[in-house]
Amino acid sequence: MIAFLIRRVAGILLTLVVIAAITFAVFYLLPSDPAAQFCGKDCSADRILLVRQQMGLDDPVTVQFGRYLVGIFAGQTLGSGSYAVHCGFPCFGYSYQSAQPVWDLMMDRLPASASLAVGAAFLWLVMGLAAGVVSALRRGTWLDRTLMVGTIGIAAMPVYFTAMVLLYFVVGQLNLIPYPRYIAFGEHPFQWIQNLILPWITLALMSAAMYARMTRNSVIETMAEPFVRTARAKGLRERRVVAKHGLRPALTPVATMLGMDLGGLLAGALITESLFGLPGVGKLFADSLNKADQPVIMGVTLLASFFIVTSNLIVDVVYAWIDPRARLS
C-alpha cells in the first residue's frame, strides 16, 4: 500500500509538471508581450525593455520554466533593487492585471467554487441515485419510462438555459428569493444556502440526469449477475438482496465517476459561476483568459489539474476499499 501510494504520488507530480510545461509553452508562443501588459498602456519602449529584463523574460524559455517550477516550492524574488518583491511558498507569481499574488487570488475564490461544487454534487447525487435505482427496480413501468424520458430532456438543456429559466421564474416572476449573490458559509449559513440554491440546481440538473441513467444501467446489470441469483437462492429477503448484494457493486462505478467530476468542479464551474456572478475560481479563470493574464491562468490550470489527479488517487484508494479484488496483494 505504501509503495503504491508513493508510486501514485510520483505519477501525480509528473503529470502536473507536464501540464505546467504545456501551458507555459502555449504562452511562450503567444504574440502578446507580458512586459508591455504588466507595464501598462503609457509605457515607453525603454521602460518595457527594463521590465522585460526584471521579469526575466529575456532568459531562454527552459530557464524561465525551471524558475517557475522551483519558485512554486522555494519561493522567488521578482525584480531587483528597490522594486524587488519576495514571493514565498507557494509562489505562483503575480497577476499582470491586479499585481496580486496568484495564490492569494485563487484562495480568495476557492470557497465560492467549493461551495458550488460540493452542494451541487450532493444534490445531483441524491437526485441521480434515487431516480436511477427506482427506475432500475421498476424497470419497464410507466415510472421508469417517465423518469428516463425526463432525464433525456434535462440532459439536453444547456446550463445557461437552465440558469436563465430559473432566474426568470424563481427570482423574476415568483420573487421567492432575491437575486443570488455569494455569501460565505461562515458569515451566514442560511443565506449561503439561499443564495447558492439556484446555482446548485443549475449545475446539478444535467449531472443528475446523467447519473440517473448511469445508475439505472449499473443496477440493472448488477441485478442480473449470478451472485445476486445466489443471494436469492440462499433465501434472503428481497430487500436485503437488493441493498446488500445488488446496490453495493452497482454503485461502485458511480462513486468513481463522482470523484472525478467533483475534482474537476472544485477548481471552478466556469459557465455557472459566470452566469450567476459567483466570485469563484472559474470566474477568475474566465476573466484572466480575456486579459491573457498568464500567471493566473497558469495557476488556475495547475490548481484544477491538482484537484483532478488527486481526486483520481482518492477514487482508486476508495475503490480498493470497496472491492477486495482491486486490493493488490
Binding site: 449477475e225 449470478p226 441469483r229 445466489t230 436469492r232 433465501g235 429477503r237 448484494h245
Partner: protein
C-alpha cells in the same frame, strides 16, 4: 420418501420476439437419498426447470405443480418459498467465481444464509460457516473463511459453493452443472464430495448436466430433456444399456470410445437444437432424427402431427418416441463411466 414431485411443469418467457416456451410439461420426482440426473444440451430447458423449482425464475410464467415435502410451491406466497429456499432446498451453481459475491468473504456469505434462516448471531453463524467449510474438505477453514472468492482456486470455490448450500442442512440440493467449469481431476473430487454428503445425510440431489459421464457416475434416475420437454426417463442403468429414444441413442453414440476401431468416425447428431420461439411441429426432435428420416412417409406422419407423449416402454422406462422399435442392447453403464 418423496421429497419433490413435479408435475406438468411449464415455463414461458415473453420476449420482444414472442413467447419462448422454455419448458413444456415436465414430470419427475426426487426421493430422499437418491439422485436424479437431468441431461440435455443448452436450450433443452434443464436449467430453467431447476430455477422454476427454486422459485428463481424471474419474469417467467410458471404453470403446473411443484410439491416439495408436501407443500405446493407454484402459486404459493413468495415468503413461503423464500423460507424453504436455502433452508430445505439449496442450489449449487455452475460458475462459483461469478456466483459468489466478489465483495464479501466466503465465511460471511455462508454465515449470511444461516443467519437468514435461523437468526443465529454473527459469531455463531461464522463458526457454522467454518464448520461446513471443513466438512467439504477445505484445509484451514477458519483462515479461508476470511478470504474472498477470488483468492480461492476453482475447485476450492466450488467446494465453498457446496458448503454454502449445505450450511442450513437442506433436504434437497439442486446442482446445476456444478463441475463444468472445473478440470477433470477436480471434477471427480467435487462429484465424490457430493456423493459422500448424500450418503452421510440422505440428501436428495438433482444433478443437471450436459455431460453423460457425470450422469453415469452419480445418477440413480435420469431425465433426458430435449426442446423443453422430456425425451426419455429411466433408471440410469436402463438408460445406458437400453436407450429407447433416438435422441438419447444419438447422445450415447456421440461419446468418443477408446475401444472404437481405428478410423471409426465420431458420430454426431446432425442439425442444431430447436428454436424455442417457433419449435418444429410435432416431435421437436424429428428434423434431426435418423429414425424419422428412415421411416416410410405414411408411418412417420405421426411425428409431425402432435407432440409425442412420454409412454411407458418397459418397467420404469418412459420414452417420447412414436416410432419406438424393439430395443436392442447397446452401451453398458460401465463403458460410459470409464
Amino acid at each position: 420418501m418423496t421429497l419433490l414431485e413435479v408435475k406438468d411443469l411449464a415455463v414461458e418467457f415473453t420476449t420482444a420476439e414472442g413467447v419462448v416456451r422454455a419448458v413444456r410439461g415436465v414430470d419427475f420426482t426426487v426421493e430422499a437419498g437418491r439422485t436424479l440426473g437431468i441431461v440435455g444440451e443448452s436450450g433443452s430447458g434443464k436449467s430453467v426447470t431447476s430455477l422454476a423449482v427454486m422459485g428463481l425464475h424471474r419474469g417467467a410464467a410458471v404453470t403446473g405443480s411443484v410439491r416439495f415435502q408436501g407443500t405446493e410451491l407454484i402459486g404459493a406466497p413468495e415468503e413461503t418459498v423464500r423460507q424453504l429456499r436455502g433452508r430445505r432446498m439449496a442450489m449449487v451453481f455452475q460458475d462459483a467465481l461469478t456466483s459468489l459475491h466478489p465483495y464479501f468473504t466466503i465465511g460471511d456469505q455462508i454465515a449470511e444464509a444461516h443467519r437468514a434462516h435461523f437468526g443465529t448471531g454473527r459469531r455463531a453463524a461464522l463458526a457454522r460457516a467454518v464448520e461446513v467449510l471443513g466438512d467439504v474438505g477445505i484445509p484451514e477453514p477458519a483462515r479461508r473463511a476470511g478470504e474472498y472468492p477470488h483468492q480461492f482456486s476453482g475447485g476450492m470455490r466450488q467446494r465453498a459453493m457446496i458448503a454454502l448450500a449445505l450450511s442450513c442442512e437442506p433436504d434437497l440440493i439442486i446442482a446445476d452443472e456444478p463441475t463444468t467449469a472445473l478440470d477433470v481431476t477436480v471434477q471427480a473430487q467435487v462429484l465424490e464430495l457430493l456423493m459422500k454428503i448424500q450418503q452421510d445425510r440422505g440428501l436428495g440431489i438433482i444433478m443437471i448436466t450436459h455431460d453423460l459421464g457425470v450422469i453415469a457416475r452419480v445418477a440413480d434416475e435420469v431425465l433426458v430433456m430435449y426442446g423443453g420437454a422430456a425425451a426419455e426417463q429411466a433408471p440410469a442403468e436402463t438408460l445406458f444399456s437400453t436407450p429407447r429414444h433416438p435422441y438419447t441413442q444419438g447422445l450415447l453414440d456421440s461419446l468418443p470410445r477408446l475401444d472404437a476401431a481405428d478410423g471409426d468416425p465420431l458420430h454426431a447428431i446432425p442439425g442444431s437444437p430447436p428454436s424455442l420461439l417457433s419449435p418444429p411441429a410435432g416431435c421437436a426432435f424429428h428434423p434431426r432424427c435418423a429414425r424419422y428420416a428412415a421411416a416410410p412417409e405414411e408411418v412417420r406422419a405421426v411425428c409431425t402431427d402432435g407432440r409425442p407423449p412420454l409412454r411407458l416402454v418397459a418397467e420404469q422406462h418412459r420414452s417420447a418416441c412414436l416410432l419406438d422399435p424393439p430395443s436392442a442392447g447397446r452401451t453398458t453403464h460401465q463403458e460410459v463411466t470409464a
